[in-house]
Amino acid sequence: MYKALKARLFQGHRTGRFPAVAPTLPDHFQGRPQLQAGPCPKDCSACEDICPTKAVKVSANGPQIDTGRCLFCGKCAAVCPRQAIAFGPEYRLAAFTREQLVAGASAAAWAPPTAGNVQCRDFCGQSLKIRQVSAGGCAACELDFNVLGTLAWDMGRFGIQVVASPRHADCILVTGPVTRNMLLALRKTHDAMPRPAWVIACGACAISGGVFTDSPETHGGLEAIFKPDLYIPGCPPHPTTILEGLLRLMGRS
């Protein structure tokens, strides 16, 4: 007991101060794409050609990136001859509709969407019980969601809690592209939840199939199965991106 107390003193208080204080992100952090307007050189499709997930498209007004497909690998930025693509420090990537995930060139300052699911916000504003289901993917999305439960993030502070039984859950947070072998278990878990059973798609896989989009062994994400109420882009999303998205869904930021 004495040793445990001593260790406790040694370890100190380590819970992060987000959202009161902005997160410290690493130097090479790849956040929301910053895209230069204007036409690309004729016949250039360097970014499209190198993208592993067909997330970037060249439009008349420069490149557009679907952050729901993007792995934030940065390859497009490296090959663009115009340097029209960069990934900035903006970590607030979550959105409430599929359309909001598409980033294009814009002169206006960007702000994350706020008008989420009103019913969910009113009902879960103080308490959000989440049943996580892993349906394919590489497990990194689960891991970086799971860290929100550690003392470094302590999402319990905001009334967010992971529950074991779907019967106790307000929402289901899905990771992975939904493999053929997980479809039935995913549906059964969703069926076992009290309605309206809100849905969160966490990571490129869950949103669009991610890097596995073209695999016949997967269903290419949640979209075709249940309509998500919150989309959290990234491969995997940074824990702050996930937490910030959840807080916005709850109407707490």
């Binding site: 445990a4 260790a7 370890q11 394919g136 497990a139 969601f145 992971v162 992975g176 995997p236």
Partner: protein, 513 residues
Amino acid sequence: MNMDTTFLTLPNGAAAPIAELPVLPFADFRAQLIQAVTQNGLRVSSFFATPASNRPGDFELIAVLADDRAHLLRLAASRVSKSYLALSADCPAFHWFEREIAEVTGLICENHPWPKPIRFTQPTTGAAGVLPGVTDYLRIADEAAHEVAVGPVHAGVIEPGHFRFQCLGEEVIFLEISLGYQHRGIEKMLVGGPDVRSAQLIECAAGDTSIASAWCYARLQAALSPACQASPAAELWRGIALELERSANHTGDLGALAGDVAFLPTQSFCGRIRGEYLNMTAALCGNRFGRGYVLPGGLRYLADNKKIADLQTWRKRVHADLTNALDLLFDTPSVLDRFENTGVLAPADAAAVGIVGVAGRASGLNNDIRLSHPYGPYTDRPLSLCAEGAGDVLARAMVRRRELDASNQWLNEALNAGTELSADEQASALSSHHSPAGGLAPSMIAVSLQEAWRGELCHVALTDSHGRFRHYKIVDPSFHNWYGLALALRGEQISHFPICNKSFNLSYCGHDL
């Protein structure tokens, strides 16, 4: 047996023309492999079937054996059609591989002791679809026995898998583990590559093993293309990233083990400390899992001396916190009581079924690819082997703890070496291979091994006449070890399943691919 004439012999991370791979008559092939494994102490690193290039419907069986004492890999092949006499019947180390071969190709492995699918993939033969987890489980025909079924969806934030326990009262007589829920078809998607998504697919085979996977792939490409050779400086930094990956995961596992015996202080401390290692990785490349850091030919980013100095200070501080958290854990009698003699995997069983990595070393197997098949920065900067012998949860925890110290010491030296690199050496580490480094040597077979944090990771690639992947085989350490967990549970209390499971902490996606 003369190994050098029977087999094609390669060092780790090398390639040879497929024409040099000896294609033995099957009876010979079978006998030689069994002898090499059961009598000469070689291990099965990979065993798979690929469609024979000239005879439609036939398959070529390819075996890659690790000869740890000679620091070499021994390869051989044989041609079969429709069916062949299973090697598993005489050598259990082939058991899981042959179940996979039968499932993927439709070949019948005659006399296989336990022919069942391992992933429940849709049959390529057009036969009726299979349902995951629906199979004949081994059952006890006794009214006193009962069966416990868990998963695929588990109670926590964890990947899916199905566990079927046959119990007498509290005692587990037998555990069967049924996987495949995470099957995404990665190996099939890699055929025809390298292409723009190959590197990302490989990093996502098992997301907590991204560095080891990317490095394994990069070294395999280096064996097939001079353009993908990496400089010693690049290899040094890849090693630094790999030891950070190992440290993050071992720390997380020890915290989770503490949590499973309700020892909350170390659970909480380690939960945070694991994140520090991930953040150090992110300091190198922006991503906590090291995505995109290791590229064919080198690295995506360089670290300057200021960053190296920061990393050194950070590492020292974190290691002090870790030591404090772990001293407390291993100094608490109630914890040790739960860990000791729990989930014992006997050394003989571990050797017979071919357990690798942390679990293997905990059961007294002295293998660590960094030492037995050294590569890159481990060649002239070896680590010490951390092996125990008891094969219980405590041994698996102790191996992790000792490896954390070994990695910490190695990181210290490697980071110091990083500061001594000249500007040219530093710059040589950078790679611009964002595009697929096409132009691989045609008609070759290449093998690359890594000591990922769970254990041996093996990639084997066969290229076609255009230098494209004809076959890409990944063997994740979990592929070897899931069966070890099932064995460790025999005769154990069912309430001990969580700590036994955590002490292995295997990957579902790495197995399912």
